[in-house]
């Protein structure tokens, strides 16, 4: 409790990840599901930053490689959101719905 260890962050990150995953499983609105996916991605970011801080290099600096990766993840996530929302909009225009149970015509 007194001293923060790596595991504290990892656990927090893991719980956030699980939370996001639970959201994906439970929510039926695609947009909300998409938000939950963002939660999952950001959970990874937390872990990464924690690891970055954990792996202090010989020069006494955090491992910036991880932070760069976080940067990429954020970028990619943003791009994904953009495209994803565009698809959702297109779906809404065609079908007037954003609910998963309305899109199960392709099966078996």
């Amino acid at each position: 409790m007194n001293q923060l260890t790596l595991n504290h962050y990892l656990l927090a990150s893991g719980l956030l990840f699980a939370l996001g995953f639970a959201g994906v499983l439970l929510r039926r609105n695609i947009i909300i599901i998409f938000m939950c996916l963002e939660l999952m991605l950001n959970a990874s970011n937390l872990s990464l930053v924690a690891f970055s801080r954990f792996h202090v290099g010989a020069d006494g600096l955090p491992n910036y490689n991880a932070q760069v990766l976080v940067f990429f993840i954020i970028t990619v996530a943003a791009a994904e959101v953009a495209v994803g929302l565009a698809i959702i909009v297109a779906l809404y225009r065609a079908r007037q719905t954003t609910h998963v149970e309305d899109i199960q015509s392709l099966k078996f």
Binding site: G14, A18, F21, G23, N29, M35, R53, Q67, V89
Partner: protein, 167 residues
């Protein structure tokens, strides 16, 4: 970062996370998401990753949330009338999530490095932005370019998918 702050922000982050998942109103969910991410940014800062923390705020609070809210408005999504979680889905989801968390906890408990405190930094003051920038533009140039193309593709894609009427 003092442990107290960590506990506060971590708890808030998770609380808002829960709120994203359980909120009936999409707008509320989106706002909870941003709040959660802000807490995350605070944790980043607490881990001495100032630049990333800033980026997190900028990108998520500034761009992504706006995008979400915009789309929610555009599609005129209403709050769900009742919280109809499918019982089966609830049970299944809970089970799978619990399973995952259990696995994670087990892994953490068996991960020796995880119980060590963070090593102190070797420098008094971090010039964070410069370090990230150096890494990004030297070692990580090629992935960076790639991500650039990715963004281009994404923007082209968005345009393609959302053009209403084509010339």
């Amino acid at each position: 970062m003092s442990p107290i702050l960590f506990w506060i922000f971590a708890a808030l982050m998770l609380a808002f996370g829960v709120s994203v998942v359980v909120n009936r109103d999409p707008v509320a969910s989106a706002l909870s998401l941003v709040a959660s991410f802000l807490c995350l940014a605070a944790l980043f800062v607490g881990l001495d990753a100032f630049f990333i923390g800033v980026i997190q705020v900028l990108v998520y609070a500034g761009a992504v949330m706006v995008l979400f809210l915009f789309i929610i408005m555009l599609l005129d999504l209403k709050a769900e009338k009742r919280r109809h979680f499918n019982k089966l889905a609830l049970a299944g989801g809970a089970l799978v999530t619990a399973g995952f968390v259990a696995g994670l906890v087990r892994v953490l408990s068996l991960y020796p490095a995880g119980n060590q405190p963070f090593p102190p930094l070797g420098v008094a003051k971090l010039d964070d932005v410069r370090q990230v920038g150096m890494t990004l533009f030297s070692n990580f140039n090629l992935p960076f370019q790639t991500v650039g193309v990715l963004v281009l593709v994404a923007s082209v894609g968005v345009i393609v998918l959302s053009r209403r009427e084509l010339k």
